[in-house]
């Protein structure tokens, strides 16, 4: 089975660990992620402006690229890409006049008609593969690993594009339980990490990161598991400062859900590209006996 896949900018650089582990894990589950032959920036942050459509061009163009491959469904790995593509699709579906404006502007392209379904890989795992099928393929249950799932914002808000319950999501909990992890709930699971404010107000983001990280540590989590490359950076690169300044904090690895999935499916840990994680998770995984083939 194949599925069209939209990577986005960060998956090709900083979050190569997310991309490589996802492709390998999906292959092990019998699904090939086929990258779109052409794609452009998703727009990164969804534009809320009601009086102009300019910023919807980038995401809609990507949906046209999906149509060109003959597919009516595209999967994303990055939470931001999911949000912008999904919301742009919903906007034009609900506003035929805006869809017409965009199509007229892009007259060299085939028309977009709201005919591509945008999904996040977590949804594919839940709805197309299924927890039971994943459980059957687990070679190495991640027993003894206590993980706190962190959802962030863009997979859950606003409500009309949420992949799960807005306030109490369980989709990542369910996946992590399926692969044998000990899942820890923590109150910051759906709270914002500070997002793009890292470029203009890094101190405030640092404060957000500390609140989130320290809460997970208090809940005795060994690691935080997430989907978003920006959350990963905000929760990961801030830790250097905390480790230096706070004697009671020794760091907590941040992992992509796909890295743990790949490990549980018995794949070579090399596909997880752990060297790209901001906080090296290998000592932790080694101590739990999870890196041995």
């Amino acid at each position: 089975m194949t599925l069209s896949y939209y990577p986005g900018c960060t998956l090709k650089t900083k979050a190569k660990n997310l991309e490589d582990s996802a492709i390998a894990a999906m292959e092990a589950l019998g699904m090939e992620l086929v990258e779109l032959p052409r794609w452009n920036c998703c727009g990164t942050v969804y534009s809320f402006a009601g009086d102009e459509e300019l910023h919807q061009l980038a995401p809609v163009r990507n949906l046209i690229r999906v149509k060109e491959t003959g597919s009516d469904k595209v999967a994303t790995l990055c939470s931001f890409c999911y949000n912008t593509l999904k919301r742009a699709d919903l906007l034009v579906r609900n506003n035929p006049d805006k869809m017409h404006t965009l199509n007229t502007f892009m007259e060299e392209e085939i028309d977009y008609e709201g005919d591509v379904d945008v999904v996040h890989l977590l949804e594919v795992l839940r709805d197309d593969v299924g927890w039971d099928a994943i459980a059957e393929k687990v070679q190495k249950p991640l027993e003894g690993l206590k993980v706190a799932p962190y959802y962030g914002c863009t997979l859950l808000r606003p409500e009309d594009i949420a992949i799960d319950d807005v306030e109490r999501p369980t989709i990542m909990h369910d996946l992590l339980k399926t692969i044998g992890c000990n899942v820890v709930d923590f109150p910051y699971a759906t709270e914002c990490c500070g997002s793009y404010q890292i470029i203009s107000n890094p101190d405030f983001v640092s404060q957000r990161a500390w609140d989130i990280l320290s809460s997970a540590v208090r809940r005795k989590a060994d690691a935080i598991v997430l989907t978003c490359p920006l959350c990963d950076a905000n929760l990961g690169q801030t830790q250097k400062e905390f480790i230096e300044k706070r004697s009671d904090f020794t760091g907590i690895p941040i992992l992509y859900f796909t890295q743990l999935l790949a490990l549980a499916l018995g794949l070579d840990p090399e596909v997880c590209r752990f060297e790209l994680n901001y906080v090296d998770p290998r000592p932790l995984l080694e101590s739990k006996g999870l890196l041995r083939q």
């Binding site: 990164t44 942050v45 809320f48 402006a49 910023h55 306030e167 914002c192 890292i198 405030f204 920006l230």
Partner: protein
């Protein structure tokens, strides 16, 4: 400081513009404060999100422009999903940012971002930030 609230401020072009860009009815807000209660960035804001929408209702453009609030908002949309009146406050915040940004003023000094930060951050942090905080 003198604050003028009159029919001119209540029905000002500013109020119309905010409602047009955000596609929200400002007067739907009844000031319960739920948005501010759940805002993850409000610890850093001069004025709370509910105070911003109150000022917007009253056409107090200058008070809003003086506060850092709209530039601290991270567009996490928590306020919007929790509003009991169905006001999409994240869109109101964006409208207020756009009114300022369309005056061609940036709210992040790109040359001041340390090189190490640029090297360490994912592209989406940069592109996302520039999209929300620059003209």
């Amino acid at each position: 400081m003198r604050t003028e609230i009159s029919t001119e401020t209540l029905y000002s072009d500013f109020v119309k513009k905010v409602e047009e860009i955000s596609e929200q009815k400002l007067l739907s807000c009844y000031q319960c404060g739920k948005c501010s209660a759940g805002c993850p960035m409000c610890f850093a804001m001069d004025l709370l999100p509910n105070q911003i929408i109150r000022l917007a209702q009253l056409g107090q453009e200058d008070d809003i422009a003086r506060a850092n609030t709209i530039w601290i908002c991270a567009s996490c949309i928590t306020c919007s999903v929790r509003c009991p009146r169905g006001v999409d406050l994240a869109r109101v915040m964006e409208a207020l940012r756009l009114i300022e940004a369309r005056k061609n003023v940036d709210h992040v000094e790109i040359p001041d971002i340390p090189k190490e930060t640029i090297a360490e951050l994912p592209q989406l942090a940069m592109v996302g930030g520039f999209r929300k905080l620059t003209a």
